[in-house]
């Protein structure tokens, strides 16, 4: 039955095999011919290679990192019978026989100074007795954990090597701490950036509302509610991400307030692919772009103008663009703004650009196409698949 498919499968399998073989060969070639040097050269290479690998596993610190694999690499590096890594609260990982776990716990229990310490015959009896060398791991002068190496007859060489290894691990942990604090800093920066609603907008909105209080109280009331909704969304405290649909709702609220001032001079067109409404994007990432378009594109133009917002599906990414036909920006100035050298007017663009880069990487910055008098087109690209990020609040939150 279905012989054609069978032969098809055979060919597919052959193609797959060829592809794998090709990949392996290419990788081999890319690495270059690695000459087998002298014993010393090879030992040097092996040690450095193991150190690099172990460093990767320790990159996130003792508690979060992959200590099991780090222990395996360190054991190979020290060439001993077993190796244990202990954190502040006890043994985290043991590479070697299970009996070593308990022995490691005993070795840690005898607290010692900053120097490596030798424990004779800590596990096993008679001829099977195993020695242990424990060395403290210190970060910023505080004991963060202990490295314990096991060997049948530990020699001074192993004691010194273990001490060095522990110091090396300490350095890696300090790097991990540095990483963590850098991430925390970035997060704080994003939070600070997020909290910026332009005072300019608040002032304008309130003036517009004030102008309606006598002439059209009902509209003024409506606008106040709108203003409250908009600020509530902006000041939302949980979740750094939202969905396109919710962000659009916020943009709608914002534009209603702006229309109170502009009247019919502000024309908005939307082209939204419905597939993308549930796509996760950074919180308040489209609204500042629209605000920029209204403020700098149209406000200075007497006749008002048109803002076009589109969202299109582009394979693995979603493309969101905001375009205005206003006065445009001098390209040099735009470059300066995005590079962070010029502040002032277009701070919203810079804000969104920074956050996109922080979250998705440098490939995902804003793209600004503009010239004086030629309008502005701002494009933002966001990967559609973001399995680890919640889309923020529940659908219908603002519709209440």
């Amino acid at each position: 039955m279905a012989e054609s498919l069978l032969s098809g499968l055979a060919i597919a399998a052959a193609v797959a095999l060829l592809a794998v073989a090709g990949y392996l060969i290419a990788r081999r070639l890319a690495r270059g011919p690695r000459e087998l040097g002298t014993d010393a050269e090879r030992a040097r290479f092996t040690t450095l290679h193991l150190a690099t690998r172990a460093a990767e596993h320790l990159r996130e610190g003792l508690e979060k990192g992959d200590t099991v694999r780090a222990a395996r690499d360190l054991r190979a590096m020290l060439d001993c019978e077993g190796l244990a890594i202990a954190g502040a609260d006890g043994v985290l990982a043991v590479d070697g026989p299970d009996a070593f776990r308990e022995a490691a716990a005993r070795a840690i229990a005898t607290r010692s100074g900053p120097k490596p310490q030798l424990h004779r015959a800590i596990a096993g009896q008679g001829r099977d007795a195993v020695d242990a060398v424990s060395a403290p791991i210190l970060t910023s002068g505080v004991r963060a954990g202990t490295l314990v190496a096991f060997a049948r007859a530990a020699r001074p060489g192993l004691v010194r090597a273990t001490g060095e290894a522990a110091r090396w691990v300490s350095t890696q942990l300090e790097l991990a701490e540095l990483d963590a604090s850098r991430a925390a800093l970035a997060e704080a920066e994003v939070k600070a950036l997020r909290a910026q609603i332009s005072p300019h907008f608040i002032y304008n909105a309130l003036t517009a509302i004030a102008s309606f209080i006598h002439t059209d109280p009902a509209k003024a009331r409506e606008l106040v509610v709108e203003f409250a909704d908009f600020t509530r969304y902006s000041f939302r405290r949980h979740g750094d991400f939202t969905t396109v649909a919710e962000e659009l709702r916020s943009v709608d609220g914002y534009l209603r307030l702006e229309r109170a001032r502009f009247g019919d001079r502000l024309d908005v067109t939307l082209q939204i692919a419905p597939e993308l409404l549930a796509t996760v994007i950074p919180f308040l990432s489209v609204q500042p772009l629209v605000e920029n378009a209204v403020r700098h594109g149209l406000e200075s133009a007497e006749r008002g103008g048109r803002v076009t917002i589109t969202a299109t599906d582009a394979g693995a990414c979603a493309l969101i663009t905001v375009e205005d036909d206003g006065v445009g920006i001098d390209p040099e100035l735009a470059r300066e703004v995005l590079a962070g050298r010029a502040g002032g007017e277009h701070v919203g663009l810079r804000n969104v650009d920074t956050r996109l880069r922080q979250v998705y990487g440098d490939d995902f910055g804003l793209v600004v196409e503009t010239n004086v008098g030629a309008g502005t087109l701002v494009t933002m690209r966001v990967p559609k698949s973001q399995p680890l990020r919640a889309g923020g609040a529940h659908e219908g939150r603002l519709a209440g």
């Binding site: 054609s4 098809g8 099991v68 299109t312 529940h394």
Partner: protein, 512 residues
């Protein structure tokens, strides 16, 4: 048959599909009204789109042909194709929608926190996609060959080029509307022959009863071979649906988990309605044109109206059927190529636009090569084997990943490799050693033993894996299984926001 009808229908459906593919969304949603713009796709529209993408050449042409050839045994195919959605509804639809992962590789990476598991999954997704496109191209070759008299390869190359160019040029992405249109086109195309034959041919064939009795003997459980084959085929079709790459993406058009579930329910109804007609066509074929079984049985749907209807009706209905069948090849292959190109470009070209184009070209060239060197022999059977392969590889990862917290990256990779090797070698072996008795059944329909094998390997290796499940498992699973609003409330409670809910304004607004 007049070639002119073939040319006209194929050209018309191609032009319409390509035009809607490029401009459909712009026409449908250019507005200045935010309420209209942020209205999500309704479940029934999304369900039509899923139906349009899912009903491939195997469903439109293959099932009727298989019923003509095999009678009752072929009935398992429509049952399995439809009931697969029941599995999707019960076990996968809502959790996967909540996971935020657009593809199976994204899901495995997020769940297992492993690049290696991701690579293996990507490789399998690409392989399955290629194999699934092959029968579509073969169906196109058959249709073009029979209806226009051109050489068969023209059809396969034509569909491959159209789909490749359109997808690479950036069309066919926001295709909910195109695919929804395709479902209704296909439904009309298979319903028309049945309706018109029943209306216009009131008399019955003299030996209709006997012909149908021969086709549908009472099912007995005495024959272990037949029982095994039926069970194995059902396992393949039920579980294979879960892993199809182009089907999963559709669920993201739903705003949330419950909507994903509602959509799946509607899909079940739409598919059930659809499959009535290929079965009816198969039975009509057995009664009135049994001689077609000797040639291309898959062409039954295309040829039946011409043989059975009077002149003006015959041409009109044939044109409609050709359009529907060709629409099936275009829509299913473009859906597959879009999702495949997405996976390939993400793996190899870091998701760049140029990479997506190259990936789209790759995604049609490879299946085209396979289709060129093989020959169409039973579309439904070929697709059945692809389902068996999917069921033995991706389905266990999805099911265990969603429902068992113990799954580890090593377990998943081991299981996928075991399933792929077992199922793949069974398929290859069946090709080398045809007719091997009961062992032949094991090889022809491998799903019943390869799926448990893959799942068991996953469980065992995960158990033995000293590193245990990834750290984020509990959080990820909570996200998959808690309804959206519960998760949100949980987040608020955690951040202490409930205390000042009045200031937050959310709760008092709800109570108002």
């Amino acid at each position: 048959m007049t070639p002119a009808i073939g040319y006209a229908s194929i050209a018309a459906v191609t032009v319409v599909t390509v035009l809607i593919g490029f401009f459909g969304v712009r026409i449908s949603r250019t507005t200045s009204d935010f309420y209209v713009a942020s209205r999500t796709v309704r479940p029934w529209l999304n369900a039509s789109a899923i139906g349009g993408e899912y009903l491939s050449a195997a469903s439109v042409l293959g099932i009727a042909g298989l019923i003509l050839l095999q009678g009752e045994r072929a009935l398992w195919f429509p049952i399995g194709y439809t009931a697969g959605y029941l599995m999707l509804l019960l076990f996968v639809a809502a959790p996967l929608r909540r996971s935020g992962a657009y593809t199976v590789p994204d899901f495995t990476e997020a769940r297992l926190e492993s690049r290696g598991a991701r690579r293996v999954t990507s490789l399998l997704v690409i392989l399955i996609g290629w194999l699934y496109i092959v029968p579509q191209l073969q169906g196109a070759a058959l249709t073009v060959g029979i209806t226009t008299g051109l050489p068969r390869w023209v059809g396969a190359v034509g569909v491959a080029v159209i789909v490749g160019v359109v997808v690479a040029a950036g069309g066919m992405r926001s295709i909910t509307f195109v695919q929804a249109f395709q479902y209704w086109l296909k439904l009309t195309a298979v319903a028309a022959p049945v309706v018109f034959v029943l209306l216009l041919r009131p008399g019955t064939a003299p030996d209709a009863g006997a012909a149908l009795e021969g086709a549908f003997p009472p099912f007995t459980v005495a024959d272990p071979d037949a029982v095994y084959r039926a069970v194995s085929l059902l396992v393949a079709l039920l579980l294979g649906t879960l892993g199809l790459p182009h089907v999963l993406v559709r669920f993201y058009t739903n705003p949330d988990g419950p909507a994903a579930r509602r959509t799946t329910l509607i899909v079940l109804c739409l598919l059930s309605a659809f499959y009535v007609f290929p079965i009816a066509i198969g039975m009509l074929g057995r009664v009135f044109v049994p001689e077609l079984a000797a040639g291309d049985a898959d062409a039954l749907v295309l040829l039946l109206p011409g043989r059975m209807l009077p002149s003006p009706w015959a041409e009109a209905v044939t044109a409609l059927v050709i359009a529907g069948a060709f629409g099936a090849f275009l829509s299913t292959s473009s859906g597959l190529v879009v999702s495949l190109a997405g996976v390939v470009s993400q793996e190899l070209f870091a998701g760049s636009v140029r990479g997506f184009r190259i990936a789209a070209a790759l995604s049609v060239v490879v299946p085209l090569t396979i289709a060129a060197v093989t020959e169409s022999a039973g579309l439904a059977g070929s697709v059945g084997l692809v389902f068996a392969f999917t069921a033995s590889t991706l389905c266990p990862v999805l099911l265990l990943g969603i429902w068992w917290r113990g799954l580890t990256a090593r377990g998943a990779v081991a299981g996928m490799v075991a399933g792929a090797v077992a199922c793949g070698s069974a398929i290859l072996l069946g090709w080398l050693v045809p007719d091997a008795g009961l062992a032949g059944a094991l090889i022809d329909q491998p799903a019943a033993w390869t799926v448990p094998l893959a799942a068991l390997t996953m469980v065992l290796v995960s158990r033995l894996d000293r590193r245990g499940a990834p750290r984020g498992t509990d959080r990820f699973l909570a996200r998959l299984h808690l309804p959206e609003h519960a998760l949100e409330l949980g987040a608020e409670a955690l951040s202490g926001l409930r205390r000042d809910a009045g200031a937050d304004g959310r709760l008092d607004r709800r109570n108002r």
